[in-house]
């Protein structure tokens, strides 16, 4: 070989080496840049908010106190919904309860909410029938005058991913859970650098020997990389990318940090359409407890689920789950993290799960109503990702009772009047209920329709229906400055000319009474007397009253207005009646109480807000007259339905039986029931027959809200004896039917009954004799 050729080959080699070196350098540079880019992305992803946490909506707390009446079935269901589970022994852990005779031993959950915080403890609740006899701390036997149960989760604002997650820090995770997860997924986690060559070789050997893909060599870091940044494709480039990302993660973060992210990220199964993610949520979903309270076998069960959560789920196949759990326990033993004795004991133990409740939307109409308010405060993205806690006024026991009462009531109607039964969901007989606390304005329950899945139209807040006789109390209230409950009205047929057209109202039934008092007109819901009153006080005055009661629908000064021939929104009607039940104060209807962030910091707070509308004395007179509706009037059938305590209320039926209403209240609670068809078809039934039984059914099932107290008589009320025929002060021993009546002090009757003054000539003699006797 000539020197020239040798030199040429050397030059070629040198050139090749240069190219190779350049290519290698370029590759390194590209890899470096790529890694730089990836590390930027990883850092950005991990240092910013890692997960979207849906905001949770909670009901109000439940208050228990000695002497309180309870619906035991509803209370037991409440405990179940709060995640308490019955155990056959004395409760040892939070969330357990035992029933023994008349006693309920309950290990309370922790309670943490704005302005209310306590640790869970064991409490003994003793019952006498359906009444709480005593509440005692089980450890000290100290009586508890008032016990608060935590609010119930009623809804989550999910984003598109519909993930549910309860974040935990690595310090909260018990060591046995960490050991179990590592044993099941990556036992050399603390010894590798993101990729485990030994693990890959072992997996390769196992798969080769078994002739199938049985074992993966992915480390926890690789699983995390895959979950966070990659797809589930099984391609070489994706695998390479996964490895690079894993190496970068390991370079950027400490092992404990990586493990914490992994434990919060990992998928643990499905509850309907909602995925359960992270050990914090999984321990609640499968065992009804927080992660720090998981036992070793429960920890092993959870770790076993990671490989295929829905396949190994104890809710799907308990035996398969148990086998998988035992495999994890054995792996823990093999790694030296579990003694032989403990292993032998643990593998004998069954898998005990807590059971779960669906994450379905409870009280859907209420939630829709609430969401409208929340959307004005927060974006959809915030609600679905920031993990806010939203506290509401909803009482889930009242809500359940209302839903059940409506369903039962409508079924009953369809059975008794078969023509009401329609098959098409949009044409079915409908109903609506709203339950409020009149004094605070809290909305305790809202049922906007018969079936939310069939119709999301919320009749409580969206429907516009004629109130019929339910409007009459506002006519009577308008008249109280000039008229008294004893004042007389004409109950005889009359014609009224409106815009050149004659209108001739009629009573619901033919009655013989030609002249009736305001009280009688209201309690018997006489149309003729009501129109007579309306004409005497003036329609404009009634329109003004209606406006002051915050009816937002257009109200025109037609005489038929007095009979409720205009449209109202049911919630506004319920609110307006609250004025009578709240000593003349108009409450603002409250559904949202507080919003807190993840750290419990209050972001929004709503207090009860009242506005003075009528005097307490007027409200008291209205309550008294509306009580007569129940005791002697159109709603007297309420006692037959088992309602005996003092209640005020009003029935309502519109023309051609299009709407049936009943609104009843006590000082503590007010409920409005509406029944009708959306298209205005006749329901062939009155408020007393269609809506009242639903109201009665509802009230019987929520005895905790019925105090059997009546309203305190406010200042400004005087009681007098009047003649029921003239409505004026009764002539002693003269008037045949004197009655006790209440009056506003500024509107007392001053004249004596002229009808019976002359009938008894002895009256004067009696009076003189009495005076003589006094002097004597």
């Amino acid at each position: 070989m000539s020197m020239k050729r040798k030199s040429s080959i050397r030059i070629k080699w040198k050139g090749l080496l240069k190219v190779l070196f350049l290519a290698f350098f370029l590759l390194i540079a590209i890899l470096f840049l790529y890694s730089w880019n990836l590390s930027e992305r990883i850092d950005q992803r991990f240092s910013s908010r890692r997960w979207s946490i849906p905001s949770k909506v909670f009901s109000d707390i439940t208050i228990l106190y000695p002497g309180q009446k309870l619906n035991r079935d509803s209370f037991d269901e409440k405990l179940r919904q709060l995640g308490y589970h019955l155990v056959p022994h004395k409760p040892r852990e939070k969330g357990e309860f035992e029933i023994s005779g008349n006693s309920l031993l309950l290990f309370l959950h922790d309670l943490k909410m704005p302005s209310l915080e306590r640790e869970g403890f064991l409490v003994n609740i003793r019952f006498t029938g359906n009444r709480i006899e005593s509440i005692l701390r089980a450890d000290t036997e100290k009586p508890i005058p008032l016990l608060e149960l935590e609010p119930e989760e009623i809804m989550l604002f999910f984003g598109t991913e519909r993930e549910r997650r309860t974040l935990v820090s690595i310090d909260q995770v018990p060591q046995h859970l960490i050991s179990a997860v590592l044993a099941a997924e990556d036992s050399r986690f603390y010894r590798h650098f993101g990729i485990d060559p030994l693990g890959i070789l072992r997996a390769f050997y196992t798969n080769l020997r078994q002739g199938a893909l049985r074992q993966g060599g992915s480390t926890l870091t690789q699983q995390l990389a895959k979950n966070y940044f990659l797809t589930a494709d099984r391609t070489l480039p994706r695998k390479l990318k996964e490895m690079i990302i894993s190496l970068i993660i390991e370079a950027l973060y400490k092992k404990d940090e990586i493990l914490e992210i992994y434990l919060n990220e990992i998928y643990f199964g499905q509850n309907g359409s909602v995925s359960i993610n992270g050990v914090g949520e999984a321990s609640l979903f499968y065992f009804g407890k927080s992660v720090n309270r998981l036992s070793r076998i429960e920890a092993a069960t959870l770790a076993g689920l990671i490989r295929a959560p829905n396949h190994y789920s104890p809710y799907v196949d308990e035996k398969r789950c148990l086998n998988r759990r035992n495999m994890v326990l054995k792996a823990m033993h093999k790694n030296g993290w579990l003694s032989n004795d403990a292993l032998q004991t643990d593998v004998q133990m069954p898998v005990n799960v807590s059971g779960f409740t669906d994450y379905g939307k409870k009280a859907p109409y209420f939630i829709d109503y609430l969401s409208q308010q929340l959307e004005a405060l927060y974006s959809t993205e915030t609600l679905s990702s920031m993990g806010l806690s939203i506290y509401t006024t909803l009482d889930t026991q009242v809500q359940a009772a209302a839903e059940k009462a409506l369903e039962k009531g409508l079924d009953r109607m369809e059975k008794s009047i078969p023509i009401l039964k329609r098959t098409a969901p949009s044409q079915k007989l409908q109903g609506a209920i709203i339950v409020m606390q009149p004094k605070t304005g809290y909305i305790l329950a809202m049922v906007g329709g018969r079936n939310y899945r069939e119709s999301q139209f919320n009749r409580v807040i969206q429907a516009r229906r004629q109130p019929g006789s339910l409007f009459k109390p506002f006519v009577f209230c308008s008249a109280l400055d000039r008229f008294t409950p004893a004042s007389l009205l004409s109950n005889e047929p009359a014609s009224y000319q409106i815009d050149g057209v004659f209108w001739r109202p009629e009573n619901f039934e033919t009655v013989s009474e030609k002249c009736v008092s305001l009280r009688t007109a209201l309690k018997k819901s006489y149309n003729l007397a009501t129109v007579d009153l309306a004409m005497k006080i003036g329609m404009d005055h009634i329109v003004q009253t209606a406006a002051s009661f915050h009816f937002s629908t257009p109200i025109k000064a037609y005489p038929s207005l007095a009979l409720g021939a205009f449209e109202v929104i049911p919630i506004e009607l319920a609110r307006a009646y609250s004025v009578f039940a709240a000593d003349g104060l108009l409450p603002f209807p409250l559904s949202l109480r507080e919003v807190t962030d993840e750290d419990g910091k209050i972001l929004q707070q709503r207090h009860m807000n009242v506005e003075s509308l009528i005097s307490p004395a007027k409200a008291f007179i209205m309550n008294s007259m509306l009580r007569s509706v129940i005791t002697e009037g159109t709603a007297r059938s309420l006692t037959e339905k088992g309602i005996f305590g003092p209640v005020a209320g009003k029935t309502g039926t519109t023309n051609n039986y299009r709407d049936a209403w009943f609104l009843g209240y006590t000082p503590e609670i007010l409920a409005l029931v509406w029944v009708g068809f959306d298209n205005g078809d006749s329901i062939y039934s009155t408020g007393a027959k269609a809506a009242l039984p639903i109201w009665a059914d509802l009230m019987k099932n929520i005895p905790q809200h019925i105090s059997e107290n009546w309203f305190n008589m406010p200042p400004g009320i005087t009681q007098k004896t009047v003649c029921s025929e003239s409505g004026l002060l009764a002539v002693t021993n003269g008037c045949p039917h004197p009655v006790e009546e209440i009056f506003l002090e500024e509107n007392l009757p001053t004249l004596q009954c002229p009808l019976h003054r002359k009938e008894k000539p002895l009256h004067h003699l009696t009076k003189e004799l009495k005076e003589l006797l006094k002097a004597f």
Binding site: I63, Y65, P66, G67, Q68, K69, P114, S115, R131, P145, L146, P438, K439, T440, Y442, P485, L585, I602, Q605, H607, M608, N609, S612, P616, F620, S624, M625, R627, S628, E632, G645, P646, P667, P703, I706, S707, E708, N709, W710, N712, M713, P714, P715, Q719, T721, N733, C735, P736, H737, P738, V739, E740, E741, I742, L762, T766, L769, K770, L773, F776
Partner: protein
């Protein structure tokens, strides 16, 4: 019966003018009472104080009802929160107290106090007014309510 016996005894003695007129008057009044109609009560207001010891038991007692006792527990919590200057928390607790027993006037008094702390004149006035309705039979509370009203009036608009 007693009256008849008395009459018999008196008849044995010589009647004087005074006894004759007395007898006439008593006899006349008795005859009038027999003719009197009974007064029916339509609007008899139920007792202002919860009369039952055990809810719905129908037993009358001067003891406060369990509902009142439970409410009072919260009233006390609300009062303590107010003392600590935590008006919003106090309002929240007092709202619960009202929802348990809406006839407990002290809750309205402390609600007025909380709104007074928050310098919300309108709400303070409303609750003061309601407190007055429920506590007007208690002279001590009534004077506190009047003093509170003065403090509310003194608030700037």
């Amino acid at each position: 019966m007693k009256i008849m016996q008395t009459n018999r005894k008196q008849s044995t003695k010589a009647p004087n003018r005074k006894t004759i007129s007395s007898l006439f008057l008593v006899g006349f009044l008795l005859s009038q009472m027999g003719c009197m109609q009974k007064i029916s009560i339509i609007s008899s207001p139920p007792p202002t104080v919860p009369p039952v010891q055990s809810e719905g038991s129908g037993q009358t007692s001067k003891q406060p009802s369990p509902r009142t006792l439970a409410s009072m527990e919260l009233t006390e919590q609300g009062r303590i929160l107010l003392e600590r200057g935590r008006s919003d928390d106090a309002i929240r607790v007092l709202e619960r107290a009202i929802s348990i027993d809406s006839g407990n006037g002290r809750n309205y008094f402390y609600m007025a106090e909380a709104w007074l702390h928050k310098e919300n004149k309108e709400q303070a006035k409303e609750f003061n007014r309601i407190a007055e309705i429920y506590l007007r039979d208690d002279p001590e509370w009534e004077s506190r309510i009047i003093r509170q009203r003065d403090r509310i009036h003194a608030l700037p608009k």
